[in-house]
């Protein structure tokens, strides 16, 4: 039952994106496309703004995933070492902001004072590291990098840098994959930071454009080329399915990436539940 409830809207969206606009309007699209064509996708492909925002989103997702994962791993490994002096204090240093958050306004002011407003960094940096991922990764290191191994390495003359890069990192490939996926998907799906920090439309990620199109149901005429009335009429017809096509385009990358990391992913989520 529930599976159907999940599947049906998704199928409906995919079908609609391939149907003709009038069929969507009249409600004759139920499960399969009516009047199948790929006009909507062609429009997406030719729209300069949509392609730019798609590429922006890809950039944000990749950069966010790499920076976020690097920060997480760098913090998680030392904090997982039981021989680190002041370990508890340092752990709490990272945990306190999750218990008590400052809210949007002070964060906005800090971003502004740092001069990051209206730059790509404003999207990537502020939420770069998630403390939840840090806790999960730390737990992973505690479980899967045995203390004995590190001690043996130390006796063999390896310093902390060497044991981090040559022992801990290779052993933690699964959790690194999970982190990359978590951060990439989070960046891909986020719109609010962009909404708040960006005014330059060339930097907009896809989700923000989606928000304008889907939720506010308005479309910027420059997104679709052409200005005369006949063209506009055709555009209205196109607009309906364009919305569905946009949804499909925005859903695809995470759904494609997901099966590749699924195994690790479930493992990662489970470690999280072990705390």
């Amino acid at each position: 039952m529930f599976t159907l409830a999940v599947l049906y809207p998704l199928t409906y969206v995919v079908s609609s994106s391939f149907s003709s606009g009038s069929a969507i309007r009249s409600g004759s699209v139920k499960l399969f496309p009516v009047g199948a064509n790929a006009d909507a996708y062609r429009t997406v492909w030719h729209s300069h703004e949509l392609v730019t925002s798609f590429l922006n989103s890809v950039f944000y997702a990749v950069a966010g995933a790499v920076i976020g994962t690097a920060l997480t791993v760098l913090a998680a490994y030392p904090l997982s070492r039981s021989d680190l002096p002041l370990r508890r204090t340092l752990t709490f240093f990272f945990l306190i902001p999750t218990l008590f958050s400052a809210g949007i306004i002070p964060t906005y002011l800090i971003i502004r004072d740092l001069g990051l407003l209206d730059t790509r960094w404003a999207i990537i940096l502020p939420g770069a590291m998630t403390i939840f991922n840090l806790v999960v990764t730390r737990a992973y290191y505690q479980i899967s990098v045995p203390k004995e191994l590190l001690e043996a390495a130390k006796i063999d003359g390896a310093n902390d840098f060497r044991s981090f890069f040559l022992i801990a990192l290779p052993l933690s490939k699964p959790i690194i994959a999970v982190n990359l996926l978590f951060y990439a998907v989070a960046q891909w799906n986020s719109w609010f930071p962009a909404f708040l920090y960006l005014s330059n439309e060339h930097l907009y990620p896809l989700q923000l454009v989606l928000r304008q199109t889907l939720v506010q149901s308005s479309i910027n005429p420059s997104q679709i080329q052409g200005g005369d009335v006949a063209e506009l009429l055709r555009n209205r017809e196109l607009f309906d399915k364009l919305k569905y096509a946009l949804i499909v385009v925005s859903m695809l990358p995470p759904l494609i990436a997901y099966p590749f990391v699924q195994k690790h992913f479930i493992k990662g989520a489970l470690i999280g539940s072990l705390k």
Binding site: A75, F93, L99, S101, P106, I110, L125, F164, V215, S273
Partner: protein, 328 residues
Amino acid sequence: MALEQLSAVQRADTAPPDKPGPPGPRKRRRGRRFRRSWQLYVLLIPPAIYAILFLYAPLYGLQIAFKNFSVAQGINGSPWAGLTYVRQFLNSYEFWTVVKNTLWLNAYQLIALFPLPIILAIMLNTVRSRRYSRGVQMITYAPHFISTVVVVGLVVMLASPDGGIINQAISAFGGNKQDFLSETWFRHTYVWSGAWQTLGFSAIIYLAALAGVDPQLHEAATVDGASMVKRIWHIDLPGIRPVMITIMILNMGSMLTVGFEKVLLLQNPLNLSVSEVIDTYSYRVAFVSSLPQYSYAAAIALFQSVMGLVLLVLANFLARRVAKESLF
């Protein structure tokens, strides 16, 4: 305060328990330990810089809740205003509306969405065919990867009164078309679209806990003639109780903060009377109104953070009392 106590505990931890010794050598030993692990601290530098810049600096900036913040004077230069803005919020006309809306929306969500993943997990766990249950899992996770914008877009489109497929179905069965974003429906729409999105993913944790239940218990119970329902009730549910309580505490603690972006997306002028929550109100005061009142908005957010912390501590306390389980 808490930090000082913690480091005191830490100091007690690091000192070797069997050699009390005078303070001098102990200090030196600690110094040596620091010097020996300097490389670990080097690794910690980038994340620490991140935390200071993007997590602690905003906390420091929160002081504008007690100041008359002006853009020209900056965070440090603005004059103090004491509790003016906190008081302004507590006395404001909107105070009870937004607090009530926040609590209603989140309490509804908490109660409606808490049992569902447990039921799904138990059902998946009792299904014999592994392939079937894997397939169902795969599909039910999928919405977790769909962004809030898209989910809200779907809701708006599929449930729209003019031509949305849900309303078409309703009128086909002879019902009246409904505006699902109206005052009457807003809360239901919000909560059940959330169910659609999170259910499969929340079930993972329970599935893991169920996998940890000893299968011998089930075998023994089957031999003794227990029905499937009885086995679920007496074996599975007690087995996942700790996980259930942990999740419950976490949900209660984040009760005031979740869903800001989604509420903002679903909000429209017609449902404002039920959809205006503390977060969106604070956001509106700071960024939408023609005269941005940063200090007032920060005071509102501060109120919410304090309430959230109180709720978390309270939930943890209750859990410890009632169920002898707690998070910290």
